[in-house]
């Protein structure tokens, strides 16, 4: 049976039971890092190691985005010399890493979280404040 579901239909069918927010970890300064503490609401849903692995990988990716390495320095100097017009045709390093992060989250959702009734929201959609994990209701759909 050919089915075309709009996004709204799909989200309405799987009802949201709760939302968990993973807050930022500022112990290393203003760098974008998230707390790796395993929230109690997810205890029955996902393995602790798996969760920590996801958060750790995300933290590493954000650290790579904000790293003060030679690449970012060269990019910064080049941008300054061209009065920042170079960014009209080129993506910043940060933006490239954000795309990588979006792909990683997509992958994690597809492989690990969605089958367990969870959904990770990309932190950039929440202003890099929190990682929002939506817990869907444990309801069986007969189709």
């Amino acid at each position: 049976m050919a089915e075309t579901h709009s996004l709204q239909d799909m989200r309405q069918q799987a009802a949201v039971a709760a939302k968990v927010f993973i807050q930022r970890d500022y112990s290393n300064g203003t760098m974008c890092q998230f707390q790796t503490k395993f929230p109690s609401e997810l205890e029955t849903k996902i393995d602790k190691q798996q969760f920590e692995e996801t958060i750790r990988t995300l933290n590493n990716l954000y650290a790579e985005a904000e790293k003060l390495g030679s690449q970012s320095l060269i990019e910064g100097c080049l941008a300054c010399l061209t009065a920042y017009t170079v960014f009209l045709c080129m993506e910043t390093h940060y933006e490239k890493v954000l795309k990588k992060i979006a792909k990683y989250i997509q992958e994690q959702n597809d492989k690990i979280y969605a089958p367990r009734g969870l959904l990770l929201t990309d932190p950039i959609e929440r202003g890099l404040r929190v990682i929002e994990i939506t817990i869907y209701e444990d309801r069986s759909f007969s189709r």
Binding site: L7, S27, N28, T30, E66, A83, A114, R116, R129, R143
Partner: protein, 401 residues
């Protein structure tokens, strides 16, 4: 039935209804479903006034947006136009009256260098004025409710503390709760009372630039004042040279009679002073806000030091000027979707799906005393204001004719 199944083989079938695609790529579906339902398509320009299409149109802060959300400025832009006029006027007069003489009698490189400096100054001014300074988007209703639950669970009868302490590089930093944005402000962030936004690494609100100066546009602001210092010194020096050279030939009074002379004396010292001050701030990795409040000064305590400083001047400068440029956290030009969570409303929390522009003001939550309203953004470009007061009583440029 099988088209929607994208789960791994051993996963329970019931979760295939969860769409793992992010909201950003769902816009074609949403607009097509809206069109199918008979509502107006979002691209219909005739109805732009009635239905907001882009997120900037419902942005809760006190900002102004131009060019369909590409340009973002503060509400009061009068002083910015004054800055523009002053720079254009001074440079224009220099190029019109002094450059022809200097090009023919000294070197054509002089107007060329002047032109490059002028273009750089304007570029940096526009970049500092028009870009997002690093505004933190306000919390979604779910986030705000979750934070409230966490805060309330710590205290019982008396108002629970709205601060969190965090240890950064051995220094205890207090994170304050912002009642307007309903978030715990990250370290170094501050709420600008003029723009009504929390801004990351808030430096100050600059009326001359018509915007806040924060994490995303600090380097443009600094390069603007630095290049403006060079430009004003350059113009000042060559105008004097012009007068001197001419008066050698024709006498001082005749020179003054034949050509208008622009002397921008007072602005040189204020701009150069400001550049020097910001050079000091960059080298010690401090913001104007922190410096004025004396957050990291030794007077606060023997063990008080700046935990954000990298230790040496060169690294601090590189980090401030050549570090990676973070992206804007407020998706100004993003399309509004019906299922996008809207930011927390003022009183009744009926957000989510509402298209009405929200007017958010700081307010009390749960009847707490106004003393809890701690907005740290009181620093509204105090140095700039000082110079503004000084300059407004003294003509910035004056003619001797």
């Amino acid at each position: 039935m099988s088209q929607i199944q994208h789960a791994v083989p051993d996963a329970p079938i019931r979760y295939t209804q969860i769409c793992t695609r992010s909201s950003s790529c769902s816009s074609p579906q949403t607009s097509s479903s809206a069109a199918a339902a008979g509502t107006e398509p979002p691209s219909c320009t005739g109805h732009r006034g009635r239905t907001p299409r882009r997120k900037w149109q419902v942005f809760p802060g006190r900002n102004r947006f131009y060019c369909d959300g590409r340009v973002m400025m503060a509400r009061q832009t009068g002083v910015f136009y004054l800055t523009l006029v002053l720079i254009l006027l001074t440079s224009g007069l220099f190029f019109a009256f002094d450059c022809p003489y200097l090009a023919s009698n000294l070197s054509p490189a002089i107007p060329a260098v002047g032109a490059v400096l002028f273009v750089f100054v304007m570029g940096m001014l526009f970049r500092a004025s028009f870009s997002d300074p690093g505004v933190l988007p306000r919390a979604t209703p779910d986030e705000a409710a979750d934070l409230e639950r966490q805060i309330d669970s710590t205290g019982c009868s008396k108002p629970p503390p709205r601060t969190r302490e965090v240890l950064i590089n051995g220094q205890t930093v207090k994170l304050k709760y912002c009642f307007t944005c309903k978030i715990f402000r990250p370290p170094r962030a501050s709420h600008c009372s003029l723009c009504d936004n929390c801004v990351e690494r808030f430096d100050h609100h600059c009326p001359w630039v018509g915007n806040c100066v924060g994490r995303r546009n600090y380097r443009f602001f600094y390069l603007f004042i630095l290049s403006l210092s060079f430009l004003t010194i350059f113009i000042f020096a060559f105008v004097i040279t012009h007068v001197v050279l001419r008066s050698n030939r024709t006498g001082f009074l005749t020179t003054l009679k034949d050509s208008p002379v622009v002397v921008c004396f007072f602005s040189v010292w204020s701009i150069v002073g400001l550049s020097g001050f910001h050079t000091y701030l960059i080298s010690s990795n401090q913001t104007t806000n922190e410096d004025i409040k004396g957050t990291w000064s030794k007077k606060e305590g023997k063990d008080n030091y700046n935990p954000y400083s990298y230790g040496n001047v060169l690294t601090n400068c590189c980090a401030a000027l050549c570090g990676p440029l973070p992206p804007s956290l407020i998706d100004r030009r993003g399309l509004i979707q019906a299922d996008t969570p809207q930011t927390a409303h003022q009183s009744n929390g009926t957000g989510g799906g509402s298209y009405a522009p929200t007017q958010l003001h700081s307010h009390m939550v749960g009847g707490y005393h106004p003393g809890w309203l701690q907005h740290g953004g009181g620093t509204s470009c105090q140095f700039c204001c000082f110079h503004a007061a000084k300059i407004s009583f003294v003509p910035l440029t004056f003619y001797i004719y």
